[in-house]
Amino acid sequence: MSGYCILSGIMDRLRLQCMNRTLILSMFKFLFTLIFCISAGAFAESKHNVVIISSSNSDFQMQTASRIRENLEADGDMAIIVSNDDIVAPEKNVKTLYVAIGEHAIKSLHEYDSNAFVLRINSRKIPDSKYTSAQSDLVTAQPVCRHIQLIKSLNPDWTTIAMLSSIDSLDIAAEFTKCTIRQNLNLNVYAITDERDLLQTLETAVEANKVLLAITDPFIYNSHTVKNILLTAYRHRKPVIGYSDSFVQAGAVAAVYTSPESIGDRASRIISGFFDNNWQFGKNIYSTDSFSISTNPQVATSLDIALPSIESIRESLEQIP
């Protein structure tokens, strides 16, 4: 059955070698190719075909993909392939819905087939995205005012808030500014155009403000820079408010975010509606309808911050639509 698939795997292996990757890596890829080929066989016979592509194998993305898969499999006759960093492409006459999780997967899929049926799951809307009845976004970011409300609920004295922003996130920073003005808080946005300026700007930002609010901007917040940011803020004894549970585990004091389970549940409902609606999305942009709160008691204790209970924080955040 899998003659072509094996050939594909061999081709990939050869391609990997041409790319000067290690032989070990190519062998792993080859094995993964075989696994996906076998999955693809089952994929062919189902009523609805869904391919979930994640940008990475992070816990968050894997949990999201897994939740979608579980929900859809329970929902009816669906063949689902979950792929980490590969795009599994069907033949052109087989309709398939792609669920792309994260910006990287979304962009890669767009490059592969810009007309594919796709539900794009990302924290924010991807600039220049095309919206048709076949392509829609599920935006997972929490309302900006909910992040601000989180800061207020943690400590009303944190009235001066620092935010680091690159050119890619200036629009987000502007939304936050509007919200803080309404709430009589002082948000100071520090623009970073050169990554070499990050540390000095960060020092200035944490010195001059009571709390640092992180936003989803990979130029500023990524797995490498987060060390500097958290350590520097900690050295100045200033709390960092993150945007994900992972950020809180890394060392932020708290975050409000959409959990992978919530995203998975929301995406599943959208997908079911999509199939019920004869392969058409009902909206261009969907948003998540719940939020989760994560706190880091160890960091808070070390910074001498008395955290309110999760329940009281939740009550406070529920006031924000």
Binding site: G41, S223, N228, L230, L231, S244
Partner: protein, 696 residues
């Protein structure tokens, strides 16, 4: 039948080699590495089971300190001395907490990033020779009181934990030069970089000065010159695992004054002593899940001292007028090494409970012909099992328990427990009642050291050769030496005022020390042929230390900070079989001492600091053995000033500072010589200019 109708194409998402591109694939959904772990976090004073003082980077810089002990003057109850003594030993910087200290401050553990640098041969720490550069230090935490379950062996009267910065925080170039009087010339260069998930820094430094002056103004023979390199690599294996590798190598040349004590028969000459200090450390931090993490830590310490000399001439005519004067050829060199492997597991089974347990094994070995006659070496294995539990019963009540079981070769299994109850009135006010016990294991020389001098003597100007043999046991081991023991009880308060801008920490305590080890010179029969006086380490004394300590940290506005501390102490001791000995303990710490350091930013360009220190009169334990009741280190006051001018050019930051120390009267912080009112050396004004350049 399943048919293959799909063409399957795998498009590999290219992970670009450049780090920027790699991070660009990250988003809200990406995993992030654990940065602030249990091992990294500083314990909040309001949650600590014992009194903890923390000296941060700002205070270290503002103090104008060139050495770590100078910074430690800010800690309540700590006294610092420069032991240019009259024994003929090398000068040492001595840091003592609540007295009980000679030039080897052995009742206190010192750690660098959790690595104990307690000297296995003679105890204490040679602060001149620790291979750490003061500019790499993030903060210094001092635990006042015993805390063996957290910090391990010899965390007896206090623990000094020096924490260096993560390599990610020291990116770019950093250079510093100090030039001043007393031949001060210090230079530091550091480079920090990264490559993907690897952060690293390498620091080179040299510290030089001519030490102190004699009371008559002449330069004392206590020049110190050291060079060191240290490096740190932090590698993020993945989001849950990190490796840290640190290493260092340092060499210090020190002048040692000749023996000045007139009654000492065997006098050492003035000479130079070379010390080498190196270490390697590898640590693996792993986060299992939200509730569990562990660390595995291995380190290797290496110390070497080269000290070879001939004594001044000894006149044996009192024994036999025909004998010729002679010299002893002594090789007091030694090498010591320590291997330590440790596993620590952090568990939070429920939100209100934080558990830590761990075990470790340590191997110490010392080679020295002089200190371990005749074997030439000694070694010891130590095994430890420890644990602690912090239980937040509710928002007001916390119980903190800890225990250390320790078994060393030559000692019984020791248990060091700790219990503390904390009551939090609210977020700003906490009281603490605590009790703890700890032991100090005798260092290897105390436990089994033996020093023997011998020489072949001639008579009648060499006409009779050999005429006699000189033999002298200087030190003889005590076979049943026990660990020193401390039981400490305290009542502490920690409060925050003025919108948390003012924090106050105070405690009343009583420390009961027992089986204290001293080395009286007593009649002994070391061998059938030897019948004379020798020093023998013995458990002879018990003392009680009572006192009050306070510390406040006040941020006045956004540009001024005041850090102050003080201690009132009373030491009492038991009756002593050796006349006068117990009085030494009672006088070994000042009854009162305090310090104030004020920092002020005038504007972006100018900042400054003023430090004032007061230390009451005291006597170091080895200062005046035959003259009890005389506190020969008198009251002294220190005034230091530092004025800084900052410049900024793009990403480059330049600062220049003038540092003036000891602006009040000359003083001595370690008077040792007896029978004279004059101190051996005095601390007089130190002035230097500091230039610092940082390019990121």
């Amino acid at each position: 039948m399943i048919s293959i109708r799909h063409r399957v194409v795998f498009i590999y998402l290219q992970l670009a080699l450049s780090s920027t591109a790699a991070y660009a694939v990250e988003d809200e959904f990406s995993d992030l590495p654990v940065v602030l772990s249990d091992d990294t976090l500083e314990q909040a004073p309001s949650r600590a089971p014992v009194a903890i003082s923390s000296i941060d980077r700002d205070l270290i810089e503002a103090s104008g300190a060139r050495t770590i002990p100078e910074v430690l003057r800010l800690i309540p109850g700590i006294v610092v001395g420069h032991s240019v003594n009259d024994f003929g030993d090398k000068p040492l910087l001595v840091v003592a907490y609540h007295g009980h200290s000679d030039q080897y401050s052995k009742q206190m553990n010192v750690l660098i990033d959790g690595r104990s640098i307690y000297d296995p041969l003679l105890g204490g720490v040679n602060w001149y020779n620790i291979p750490i550069v003061i500019d790499d230090i993030e903060r210094i935490e001092v635990t006042r009181g015993p805390n063996a379950s957290t910090y391990g062996s010899n965390s007896f009267m206090a623990v000094i934990n020096i924490i260096t910065r993560h390599a990610a925080e020291d990116q770019g170039h950093f250079a510093k030069v100090n030039v001043g009087n007393h031949d001060i010339f210090d230079a530091t260069y550091r480079y920090g970089g990264n490559n993907g998930d690897l952060d690293y820094r390498v620091t080179l430094a040299t510290v030089n000065d001519d030490g102190q002056d004699r009371a008559d103004g002449a330069n004392a023979n206590d020049d110190v010159s050291s060079g060191k390199i240290d490096y740190r690599f932090d590698y993020q294996i993945n989001t849950k695992n990190q490796l840290t590798y640190t290493g260092s190598y340092g060499r210090t040349d020190q002048q040692a004054e000749q023996t000045l004590r007139p009654e000492t028969e065997i006098k050492k000459p003035q000479r130079e002593i070379q010390d080498t200090n190196a270490h390697q450390l590898l640590r693996w931090d792993s986060t299992i899940n939200k509730k569990q993490s562990f660390t595995v830590n291995y380190f290797f310490n290496y110390l070497e001292e080269e000290d070879v000399y001939d004594t001044l001439e000894i006149d044996p005519s009192a024994f036999d007028p025909l004998l010729d004067p002679f010299q002893l050829s002594i090789d007091a060199s030694y090498k010591s090494q320590r291997h330590n492997l440790e596993f620590t597991h952090f568990i939070d089974p429920i939100k209100e409970l934080h558990l830590v347990w761990g075990l470790s094994g340590q191997y110490d070995k010392v080679e020295s012909e002089r200190y371990f006659y005749p074997a030439g070496e000694n070694s010891r294995n130590t095994f430890r099992l420890y644990g602690s539990a912090v239980w937040d019963i509710n928002s007001h009540n916390t119980i903190d328990l800890g225990v250390l079981f320790e078994k060393s070769d030559g000692t019984e299994t020791d248990v060091s427990p700790r219990i503390a109850y904390l009551y939090h009135f609210n977020d700003n006010h906490t009281v603490r009642i605590g009790a703890s016990q700890a032991v100090r294991t005798p260092f290897l020389f105390e436990q089994s050291g033996q020093v023997f001098d011998t020489a072949v003597l001639t008579a009648l100007d060499g006409a009779i050769d050999p005429a006699a043999t000189f033999e002298n046991f200087v030190y003889v081991p005590e076979n049943n030496l026990n660990t020193e023991k401390i039981t400490s009880v305290e009542f502490g308060y920690y409060g925050k005022f003025l919108q948390k801008k003012l924090s106050v920490s105070t405690r009343i305590f009583q420390d009961m020390l027992d089986e204290l080890i001293t080395d009286p010179q007593v009649p002994t029969t070391a061998t059938p042929d030897f019948d004379g006086l020798a020093f023998i380490y013995s458990n002879l004394h018990a003392t009680t230390v009572r006192g009050i300590e306070a510390e406040l940290d006040y941020s006045i506005g956004s540009s001024t900070r005041l850090f102050a501390s003080g201690a009132l102490l009373d030491i009492s001791s038991d009756d002593d079989p050796y006349e006068g000995k117990s009085r030494e303990y009672e006088e070994s710490a000042p009854d009162e001492s305090f310090s104030i350091l004020t920092l002020h930013d005038f504007n972006e360009k100018y900042s400054g600091s003023v430090g004032f220190y007061y230390v009451g009169d005291m006597s170091w334990m080895d200062a005046n053995p035959n003259n009890p009741g005389v506190r020969n280190t008198g009251v002294y006051r220190i005034l230091d000033l530092r004025l800084v001018r900052n410049f900024k050019f793009g990403n480059e930051r330049l600062s220049t500072a003038i540092v003036l120390k000891n602006l009040l009267d000359d003083y001595s912080d370690y008077d040792a010589i007896q029978n004279t009112p004059e101190p051996v050396v005095v601390q007089n004004m130190v002035a230097y200019i500091e230039l610092k350049l940082k390019i990121q």
